[in-house]
């Protein structure tokens, strides 16, 4: 142990990349300490240098990256001075890492057990047999069901949540002093994320490992970590204990980040999300004064002259803001309230009745002779109705059928049966058979704007295409309209000529939104449109979508696995599991008990960026069953935390109606659900969250 008892002691570290354009100081002057058993959450937008810092700490930088100053100590060892060969010995034994994408981080052609056993063989000097036993022991410790058989499987035979357990088991198997977790739950469903976070929490009680937990999700930090450091453009802006930082928020950047996160107790009708204007600066283009000044709402002249140092404001609470005093005065979260619109019911835009989509599935030799037909029931009898200027949020775990449903409505996928009616007119299943004038009325925005924009076409051309193809505009009209659309999505006019690779992720998604609006659609299908973006960009896009809806009256079908985003943007929410609808109702109602046990589990899994909110721990076992083999009776009974009795396995549950069209499909009587679920999530969070 070093003198101060910290496992990891990083002092004034600067990391520099040598590039063609000269040196880039990506991380500057960062210090942090992590004590045994402590979880340190490092947060920040993409490009803030989180991963660079983590890799520098373990001396795993690419060839052109170098630690140019500072010191790094791991207990008594000076990592910075250690020769390369010695560093390799520390990897895996004293320092381990859990990576972001469990699917990609496990060797696909090597047995799971062997990959865990490697650690024990190399670092603990065990023989093959001992190492194999150790691997199974570790799998048991991470509560892997049936560890013996999992050890003999390959990565593709396990779900994402199970793979993440494998990575954690591997990382813990040498009982390291220090562990880095780099966005370990980002690629997982919210329900799986909750289970993994619980697991990490439990393991920490047994092991005394110091953890550096990197994430962009403030809710995850609030739930798991002891300490938080907010990194911005390579420098720490604020650092302190979770309670202190979340309560006092003594840096405008921290406030900005927290303001971007949608709340579970308010929607677009009540507040607009605050977003942070502008972009994170590149390390070669830093402002002279405070690096956050150009995006800060409290900025004054002095801020732009001198860079403020990280100062201790209260005990162990640091901030790099000059105007901490002003911040301390205004602690309350401020939300920009929106005027309530008098709600009128719009005309019905979309009526989808009993949509089914079965994919034929024939394994093995059968495909040659067409025998043994099985069906993958991706969507199995879902009906939705949408009015104009209305947003329907669809939530559910991955594999629940939400995207297939959207693709059937858009006609990209041909529904197997059911009726799709758009503004009173029955539509063909396939987009190819739909008449020209209905094509423009349904538009889609996809998750990944990189893949949905042609990299060879300037942004303006992408937006112009629907105008030419679907609206027969003249060249001059097109030019005018493109300008208008760019303005509507708040992009500068000179962006019209830019190629997609010259735009940021958020800007590309704005172009995609502009393109969808170019067709003047009645219905826009947004399939996870904000999921791969930073919180501040997410917030500004959600505000943009809300504004555009107010002015154009378009309806959105908004698919997301992020329940707080859905809660914010949707008027109504539909909860989907295994191809069926289980609950539907207004966003407010769905978030208040009684709710469906599945909804309840989803809600209790939401990571809420407020350490004072204590959520009920309702966790789902295992993963979604295969749609090839749907459970009998209520499809949810195999994982239901509130299973009622045998009836759940035998009979399909009935729809139970409540006021205002809120419906739940469950065997448990509403009264009983209400009793079981008490006040629910919403009350508690508003008690703790202020406003």
């Amino acid at each position: 142990m070093s003198d101060n008892g910290a496992v990891l002691d990083v002092k004034n570290v600067t990391v520099t990349y040598e590039t063609d354009k000269g040196p880039l100081h990506t991380v500057r002057n960062v210090s942090l300490k992590i004590a045994p058993g402590e979880i340190y959450g490092l947060v920040g937008e993409s490009g803030s240098g989180k991963t660079t810092l983590a890799r520098a700490v373990v001396r795993y930088l690419p060839a052109n990256g170098k630690i140019t100053s500072g010191s790094i100590k791991l207990s008594d060892t000076d990592l910075y001075q250690l020769p390369r060969e010695e560093v390799r010995k520390i990897w895996g034994s004293r320092v381990t890492m859990v990576h972001q994408d469990p699917n990609a981080s496990i060797n696909p052609s090597m047995l799971i057990g062997d990959q865990i056993a490697e650690m024990a063989r190399i670092h603990l000097g065990m023989n093959k047999k001992q190492a194999r036993d150790r691997a199974i022991e570790m799998l048991t410790r991470v509560r892997m069901p049936d560890p013996e058989s999992v050890a003999k499987r390959y990565a593709h035979q396990l779900s994402g949540g199970m793979l993440q357990r494998v990575l954690i088991a591997t990382a813990m198997s040498t009982n390291p002093e220090f562990m880095i977790m780099d966005e370990p739950t980002t690629a997982l469903d919210v329900t799986t994320e909750a289970v993994i976070l619980d697991l990490i929490h439990e393991l920490m009680a047994d092991y005394n490992t110091a953890i550096l937990f990197i994430t962009h999700n403030l809710g995850v930090v609030a739930r798991l970590c002891d300490k938080i450091g907010v990194l911005y453009a390579g420098e720490i802006m604020e650092e302190g204990s979770i309670d202190e930082v979340f309560k006092k928020r003594l840096h405008p950047y921290t406030r900005g980040l927290l303001g971007c996160v949608p709340r579970v107790d308010a929607s677009k009708k009540d507040i607009s999300l605050s977003s942070i204007p502008g972009y994170i600066p590149r390390p070669d283009d830093l402002p002279d004064g405070c690096i956050f000044a150009p995006r800060c709402e409290l900025v004054e002249d002095a801020c732009e002259k001198e860079r403020p140092p990280l100062k201790e404001i209260a005990e162990n609470h640091f901030s790099a803001c000059r105007r901490v005093d002003q911040l301390q005065e205004k602690i309350e979260r401020k939300d920009e309230l929106r005027e309530h619109h008098e709600e009128e019911l719009g005309d019905i835009v979309l009526e989808a009745r009993n949509i089914k989509k079965y994919f034929p599935f024939t394994p093995g030799i059968g495909s040659l002779f067409g025998s043994k037909k099985a069906e993958l029931k991706a969507v199995d009898d879902i009906s939705v109705r949408m009015r104009s200027s209305f947003t329907m949020g669809i939530v559910g775990e991955s594999g629940c059928g939400k995207t297939t449903l959207a693709r059937c409505i858009a006609g990209i996928e041909e529904a197997t049966s059911g009726e799709i009616e758009l503004q009173g007119k029955l539509l063909a299943y396939s987009v190819k058979k739909r008449p020209h004038d209905t094509l423009k009325k349904i538009q889609m925005v996809f998750q990944n704007p990189d893949a949905s924009l042609n990299p060879q076409h300037p942004a303006g051309d992408s937006v112009a295409r629907p105008l030419i193809l679907l609206r027969d505009m003249s060249r001059k009209e097109v030019r005018e309209k493109v300008k208008e659309l760019f303005k509507a999505v708040s992009l500068p006019e000179d962006y019209i000529k830019r190629l997609p690779h010259e735009l940021s992720g958020g800007e590309k998604q704005r172009v995609a939104i502009a393109r969808a609006f170019a067709a003047d659609p009645a219905l826009m299908i947004c399939d996870e449109p904000i999921s791969s973006l930073d919180v501040s960009v997410q917030a500004s896009l959600m505000n943009l979508l809300t504004e555009l809806q107010d002015s154009a009256g378009t309806s959105y079908l908004f698919i997301s696995h992020d329940l707080s985003a859905v809660r914010h943007i949707s008027d109504w929410i539909a909860v989907v599991y295994l191809g069926r609808l289980w609950e539907i109702g207004s966003a407010e109602d769905v978030f208040i008990p009684p709710y469906h046990p599945y909804t309840e589990a989803l809600l209790s899994a939401i990571p809420i960026p407020d350490p004072e909110v204590k959520q009920d721990r309702i966790r789902l076992k295992g993963s979604v069953p295969s749609p090839l083999n749907i459970p009998s009776g209520c499809r949810f009974h195999t994982r239901c935390p509130r299973k009622y009795g045998e009836i759940c396995e035998k009979e399909e549950p009935p729809w139970q109606d409540m006021e205002d069209g809120h419906r739940i499909c469950c065997h448990i009587p509403l009264e009983e659900l209400r009793e079981l679920q008490g006040d629910g999530l919403l009350k508690k969070s508003s008690a703790g969250g202020g406003s």
């Binding site: 981080s105 060797n107 696909p108 490697e118 190399i122 593709h156 030799i365 040659l368």
Partner: protein, 314 residues
């Protein structure tokens, strides 16, 4: 695995049937009448008519095909129109010769190509990589008659280490034939090496960039173990495919090399058959090449499946 195997065999049978139809049809379109070709320019009308009858040439095409295919399956591949000898011993003899040459060439260029490819990937964009990539590309581009003649003039005529002419005895065993095989094998290896090295290089670079290799390094595994346990098994997958494609090429496509060395392989037999419109030779030779192609691809897929658990089918 069992049903997968059966399915693949089924596909191969379908492939062979389709190939036989195509081969049979193409040989029908070759210019000239078969009977005329056999009997020569000065044959009488009656003789030609008799021979046509005898050969079954007056029957409808599909009957001719079925007769031919039926006989082919039973091992009667017909007689050469030129030499009147049975085709089967000729073709199998040449197949054995080609297989010997292919075997030696594969033994040379596959291991060498993999080693060079891995070295190039590990030293990417540095001198060893640039040298390996540059030289192997130059060899791929070098025509076989050039490299063949250069090898003959230096190693055979100049140094006198190997015979310049490789027209071996029909009955020689592999070891008897070995000295004659070396130069042609080196010649084709120069081409094959480039493909294998390039494929291995790019496959290895992809895998070296993967998250699981990063994870393996951060486990503290020694570099050699990262390479053998985590990299190679995944990075050699594309190489397996290119090697399998090479087998077909080695057995039926080495026309130039075989000609330069006078080596009696399958490729030259086919050219010879086409020049003389010796239909049974063309048909049998082509069928053998198609069969070898299909089987080597099957072998590649099985090896692929062993290396890559993701595509193993139960």
């Amino acid at each position: 695995m069992g049903s997968y195997f059966i399915r693949r065999i089924g596909f191969i049978i379908i492939t062979l049937i389709l190939a036989s139809i195509i081969i049979f049809s193409i040989t029908q379109f070759l210019p000239g009448d078969v009977a005329q070709v056999i009997l020569g320019q000065f044959a009488t009308e009656t003789a030609i008519a008799n021979l046509r009858e005898e050969l079954g040439l007056n029957e409808p095409l599909h009957m001719q095909y079925l007769n031919w295919a039926g006989n082919f399956i039973q091992g009667d591949w017909g007689n050469s129109l030129v030499s009147r000898m049975p085709v089967r011993p000729i073709v199998t003899q040449r197949l054995v010769n080609s297989a010997m040459l292919a075997g030696l060439a594969l033994l040379i260029y596959v291991p060498l190509g993999i080693v060079l490819g891995v070295i190039a990937a590990l030293k990417r964009d540095r001198l060893p990589d640039q040298m390996i990539t540059g030289v192997s590309m130059a060899f791929v581009g070098l025509p076989e008659f050039v490299s063949g003649l250069l090898l003959i003039s230096f190693l055979a005529i100049g140094a006198g280490w190997f015979p310049a002419n490789s027209s071996i005895d029909p009955d020689s065993t592999f070891f008897e034939a070995l000295p004659f095989l070396v130069l042609p094998a080196i010649t084709v290896s120069l081409t094959g090496l480039g493909y294998v090295a390039r494929m291995t290089r790019s496959g290895t670079i992809d895998v070296l960039r993967s998250d699981y290799v990063r994870a393996a390094e951060l486990k503290g595994l020694p570099g050699s173990q990262v390479l053998t346990r985590h990299v190679l098994r995944n990075s050699l997958l594309p190489t397996v495919t290119i090697v399998a494609m090479g087998i077909g090429w080695l057995l039926g496509g080495l026309i130039v090399t075989e000609a330069v060395y006078g080596y009696p392989g399958l490729g030259r037999l086919l050219v010879y058959g086409i020049q003389r419109q010796d239909l049974p030779i063309i048909q049998a030779g082509s069928m053998i090449v198609v069969a070898v192609y299909s089987l080597s691809n099957l072998a590649a897929d099985i090896i692929y499946g062993m290396l890559n658990p993701r595509i193993r089918v139960d």
